[in-house]
């Protein structure tokens, strides 16, 4: 199964798998943690794909594998049609310029011993993109782009608030002039009033530079706001994938329904009217998962077949794919 759009793909992953071995003991066979299990999707240039799911579902692992911070176990990663799956670190450098990342925690992702100018200039120096005086000119330009001031350049990360630090992180990601940016929970550590500031910056940058985003988040309302397509993940599997409005208006997978209904609406009338689907139990362990549908242990519609056969993503229409035996 491959999901492909008619538009020019910026990034495509095909049957991506990332397994981690967990040592069980001396001479014992290691346990396998299937963090990402056979996931395929593509993102068109200039668009945003949102990836949602609970903690431990493999969202971040996908983000990191796409950047080749993790070596994929199996499957393919295509960047602008070129296979980058098996490139070594040296060959990857030219792609790392184009693919950058914004991290979740602005408190730990900036080096406390570097000032802002150094932090932002580091990728430029490391990749030899510019020399001498040009570097500082570029840094000044970047600081301006993310809404910080020139006199912030000589300060250190601890002097900034969470929202300002996240701006520094964005400026650093922009330094290499990327085309594709993995945003790994860029707003979840921030206060509500600051979240909107960061989202607006990301949107402005996208319309200015035609960036492509992979937006990883558990904030469903924000994902709906910023994304063109949304993928829903559960226990390493992509269970539903659709155009954003199609997904939120016409969700099909029982997990997607539960996930979206669980988010409380910030509106007393809607909160009172809404029927919340409360899932029982916890997400099962991804270590040596049982065969069949990963969601069946919490699914109220689970049938016999769900316990033995895992459903593949099936096309419902051009804009909508779902992996569930209910729709076969």
């Amino acid at each position: 199964m491959s999901i492909s759009s008619t538009k020019e793909n910026c990034l495509e992953i095909q049957n991506l798998k990332k397994y981690f071995e967990i040592k069980a003991g001396f001479l014992k066979k290691p346990n396998i943690l299937k963090a990402v299990d056979d996931v395929s999707f593509s993102i068109a240039r200039g668009e945003t794909m949102g990836l949602v799911g609970e903690s431990g579902c493999g969202k971040t692992t996908i983000g990191r594998t796409v950047l080749k911070l993790y070596e994929p176990t199996d499957g393919k990663i295509l960047y602008c049609g070129e296979d980058i799956t098996n490139l070594d670190d040296k060959q990857m450098i030219s792609y790392r310029k184009k693919i950058q990342m914004i991290f979740q925690d602005p408190y730990t992702s900036l080096d406390p011993r570097m000032n802002v100018a150094h932090i932002i200039a580091e990728p430029i120096r490391f990749m030899h993109l510019m020399e001498g005086k040009d570097i500082m000119d570029r840094v000044r330009e970047l600081v301006e782009l993310v809404g910080l001031k020139q006199d912030h350049l000589n300060r250190y990360p601890h002097e900034f608030s969470g929202g300002q630090r996240q701006r520094i992180g964005i400026a650093r990601a922009l330094a290499a002039e990327p085309e594709f940016i993995v945003c790994d929970e860029p707003i979840s550590a921030l206060d509500v009033s600051i979240q909107a500031q960061i989202i607006n910056i990301l949107e402005d940058l996208q319309s200015k530079f035609n960036f492509t985003y992979l937006f990883i988040s558990h904030d469903l309302a924000m994902v709906r706001h910023i994304s063109n397509q949304v993928g829903v993940m559960y226990l390493g599997n992509l269970v539903e994938y659709a155009e954003v409005e199609e997904l939120y208006e016409n969700m099909m997978h029982p997990y997607t329904k539960a996930l979206i209904s669980a988010e409380p609406a910030a509106d007393p009338d809607k909160a009172e009217a809404s029927q919340r689907i409360v899932l029982q139990g916890d997400v099962p362990s991804p270590i040596n998962p049982a065969p069949g549908c990963p969601f069946r242990s919490r699914c109220q519609y689970a049938k016999e077949i769900c316990g033995s056969v895992k459903s593949d993503l099936k096309k419902i229409n051009d804009k909508h794919y779902v992996a569930c035996h209910l729709f076969e």
């Binding site: 607006n200 539960a258 009338d269 909160a271 029982q280």
Partner: protein
């Protein structure tokens, strides 16, 4: 301050609370004169950004502050009794007994060295003078009530053997096992996934009804407030900006800060978000006037110089904003906020 405070229905009444922390840089004025009351059986929500004083004000009431804290208030009464002048020893009779607290992070607020059973029986043996066996029996019963399967087995386990959602259930079990009259939940679901959050919120609602508790829910999530609370207090910069019944806060908003919070939430229509620009004030040197003035789109010169007082703008609905002042209204006309 208001006449609703004087009737017998009030469980917790806090008048003019100030909390500060002495640090090397000076006095951090975390809470700067707030009055809060909770009625019997009521769910009060306290919203605000990090550092606005929501948690500190509750910890002040419970006498759970660090040694460098300075506390001052006109009165703190609980069920008619004064809490403000209680000694550490006298307060222990209340902590975990009449007033219980659930903390934000279930990963760090349970003691990793004691079993779940030891941690639940501790308050039962201390406050209810139960024997060990009776306490264990009650503990198993409470664990069952909070939806933990196989309670007998769990009693013997350590916190690291449980998931985040399970640990938060254990926290709730510890908090409710002595039948408290007031439960203070400080961001009880912030560290949890939405599906687990839904479970915990449902459980808290059920427990509140079953035990006829009053609830104070501290959160920054307006969605949680909308589905759990009947009255809301909005805090900013150590002060109360607005308070009132749930629907008044959401639909007849009386303060620009509350409006800013509501506008920052995406509305499903892909319209550009309206953030609150700037950052919260530094509580080492809080501004002389309204703490929100620097970020407020309606701010006037007056706001920077004088602190507005909470004024009644509807039944039980108060807002601390100069826009509601009669002479400002006469000059500027009515400003529509909601």
């Amino acid at each position: 301050m208001s006449d609703t405070n004087t009737d017998n229905n009030v469980l917790l009444d806090v008048k003019n609370l100030y909390t500060g922390f002495t640090t090397d840089d000076g006095l951090v004025k975390a809470v700067r004169g707030i009055s809060i009351h909770v009625n019997q059986g009521e769910s009060l929500g306290i919203v605000g950004e990090s550092g606005c004083g929501k948690s500190v004000s509750m910890l002040s009431i419970m006498h759970l502050l660090a040694d460098n804290a300075i506390l001052k208030a006109d009165a703190v009464t609980f069920g008619g009794e004064d809490l403000l002048h209680k000694s550490v020893k006298e307060m222990r009779k209340y902590q975990g007994n009449e007033i219980s607290m659930i903390f934000q992070d279930p990963m760090t607020s349970l003691n990793p060295l004691f079993t779940i059973g030891e941690q639940i029986t501790n308050p039962l043996m201390r406050h209810k003078k139960m024997g060990k066996r009776a306490a264990l029996e009650k503990a198993a019963q409470v664990l069952d009530q909070v939806g933990i399967p196989d309670p007998q087995k769990r009693l013997k386990q350590y916190p690291h053997e449980l998931s985040g959602g399970m640990r938060q259930r254990v926290m709730i079990a510890i908090a409710i096992c002595c039948d408290p009259r007031l439960l203070i939940a400080d961001e009880p679901t912030t560290a949890l996934d939405v599906t687990i959050q839904a479970q915990i919120l449902e459980l808290m609602q059920k427990m509140k009804e079953e035990y006829k508790m009053s609830l104070i829910l501290i959160t920054h999530d307006l969605g949680v407030i909308a589905s759990m609370c009947s009255r809301v207090v909005v805090m900013y910069g150590g002060l109360i900006m607005e308070e009132g019944p749930l629907r008044d806060i959401f639909y007849r908003t009386g303060h620009p800060y509350t409006l800013g919070l509501l506008e920052s939430i995406p509305k499903h229509d892909k319209q550009r978000l309206v953030p609150i620009y700037g950052t919260p004030p530094d509580l080492l040197n809080p501004p002389k006037g309204c703490p929100f003035a620097a970020r407020c789109k309606f701010a006037m010169k007056l706001c920077q110089e004088h602190l507005p007082q909470l004024t009644e703008i509807g039944e039980g609905h108060r807002s601390a904003c100069w826009l509601h002042n009669p002479s400002v209204k006469a000059k500027r006309g009515e400003v529509k906020l909601s």
